[in-house]
Assembly symmetry: C2
């Protein structure tokens, strides 16, 4: 359980000190002690920060992420909700796979107008039908 200062945490996580203070302010992470005024962190915050970054990448707000990670505090940890969140992430992954394929298609296909291309149409149509179910 070694203690790391804010600069070290910042260096290892890629998150700026100002952001680390902000995360603390909104209750996402905490420094386990102070050396004078200076924050000292347990290295487990590195895990937390990695999860936070992934959560952000998945499109969750910091509040939502806080609810997921901090759920264990004060007796919470809604396991069903967590699986639901994982489902959302997997849905997002499916979207991104379509996007990746679409980008590569556009990069490779000679057709000037992709809306006519049957391959492209097939991709978009399946994406669109899935999307309409989502925001319906």
């Amino acid at each position: 359980m070694k203690s790391l200062d804010i600069a070290e945490i910042s260096r290892r996580s890629g998150v700026k000190p100002s952001a680390l203070r902000y995360y603390e302010e909104i209750g996402l992470i905490k420094a386990d002690s102070r050396k004078g005024l200076r924050r000292q962190y347990d290295d487990s915050v590195l895990d937390q920060l990695a999860l936070i970054a992934m959560g952000r990448a998945a499109g969750f707000s910091l509040q939502e992420i806080g609810a997921m990670l901090g759920g264990s505090e004060g007796f919470g940890l809604d396991r069903q909700r967590l699986h639901q969140r994982a489902d959302e992430v997997e849905q997002r992954i499916r979207e991104l796979r379509v996007l990746s394929r679409a980008l590569r298609h556009v990069a490779d296909c000679a057709a000037p107008d992709h809306s006519q291309c049957p391959t492209f149409r097939r991709m978009m149509d399946s994406a669109l039908s899935r999307a309409s179910r989502t925001h319906a």
Copy 2:
């Protein structure tokens, strides 16, 4: 090539009229005509909007998305860059897979402190080593 009004586009895409006007303002989409003042859209904008939504989900800014989709305008379309973007999307997908597994793990694992759990540690360590390569 049927024309749809802004309400219909909004309904089918899930994007609010105000956002559609905003997208037009920044050059992401365009209405192909006006009926009086009112915008009339070609239904191909539905494809574009779906791609925009996926791009947003992948974490790209509207400007970046504009550069990807609008590249064909005025002779651009950097195919290599597009493959590079697809690579980025696939990297993001890998992150999200880790997140999904981490969430399900936390939901299912009885351990109170996951930083001790070897399964969890393995996931996080691989994620962390990949992350450090990214922001190094």
